[in-house]
Subunit: 202 residues, 2 copies
């Protein structure tokens, strides 16, 4: 099996996902889709099904837009949420919502779930999977949560934290993939691309 | 408790440790020590004791050099090793050693152990601790290991890999702190600095 010959398109506007790809040395291009996530959210209450459906919608939207171009391209899409005691937590819209989110999440563990969808332009095949990592937070005072929020890391991130930045100070343990917590379960991408698309990322 | 008032000195030449501190928003200065690690290695066969002793030696060496300067400074030192089936694995010296290391590590799990030592210039107190994270690798072919080695990530890193870079593709699971795998268990630093030195990093 040879090194990457196809173009990889990351259908995501997440800076975190771009950074994982860059640091892993994967050449890629970004294509930003504009799907109606709210509509999907009303249809799926199960966390794993939800992120898989959103990832699938993003991948198919990118594919529709890129048909007749980039015939040899592979499209990778993803969506990440947090599940805490059965409750689905997405991104906070403002500081107060981020505060309420984190206040519920401290001194316990939550699930970080990422759905991924991989397809190629030239065929109808699409692979959908998900990965779950358990993340445990230390206890924090309200004052500490507010100071953390002022770092602005909460913005645009499921569960209002970033495992690679200041939040590393209060993440006591994870069980599962660490890249999954950043937004892409890289070991699963590696395996699916190798097995199903003949692309070896290493 | 107030935000950092003391100067933090990181007694480490590791680029990874500096990057964790920067990304966590911690102001710090670097002081590089030059201790005789080999001498310590001959005295301790237990992995946890060994990294703690090396971290302690680095912290005390920095302290001796900085006495009479920076009276209010806190010194943080660390040392990281890998333990695989009871065998202690440090840094590879050349590509072939890195290859042999990784070949033993694939398709199984190892322990990533970091020892930390925290002291301050103005008092004799020193806190020593360690943290262990279990890291699981996927199976890789010899060809894949060689391609990985050509990324040069193995250089200067215990166990010859970097969890934030290309190795993210073959790390299937971790159990424990993810910052510990990079070289500093940040949640432990946060707790020790808060409890023992009155410094809140958040």
């Amino acid at each position: 099996m040879e090194i990457i010959l196809k173009k990889i398109i990351l259908a995501s506007k997440s800076i975190d996902r771009s950074e994982i790809f860059k640091r892993a040395g994967i050449p890629f291009e970004i294509f930003i889709t504009n799907i109606n996530e709210e509509k999907i959210k009303t249809k799926f209450s199960n966390a794993v099904e939800l992120v898989q459906e959103i990832a699938k919608a993003k991948a198919l939207s990118a594919k529709n837009n890129l048909l007749n171009k980039d015939y040899n391209a592979i499209i990778i899409a993803a969506d990440t949420i947090v599940e805490l005691n059965g409750e689905i937590i997405g991104k906070a819209q403002h500081e107060y919502e981020a505060f309420e989110m984190l206040r519920k999440m401290v001194a316990r563990s939550h699930k970080l779930i990422t759905g991924i969808a991989i397809t190629e332009i030239k065929s109808p095949k699409i692979f959908i999977d998900s990965d779950t990592t358990i993340v445990e937070f230390l206890e924090l005072s309200d004052e500490e949560i507010w100071r953390y929020i002022k770092s602005n890391e909460w913005k645009g991130r499921a569960g209002a934290y970033s495992i690679r930045d200041k939040a590393t100070l209060f993440i006591s343990k994870i069980i599962g993939s660490s890249s999954n917590v950043i937004g892409l379960p890289m070991h699963k991408l590696y395996e699916i691309l190798k097995t199903e698309f003949g692309i070896n990322l290493i």
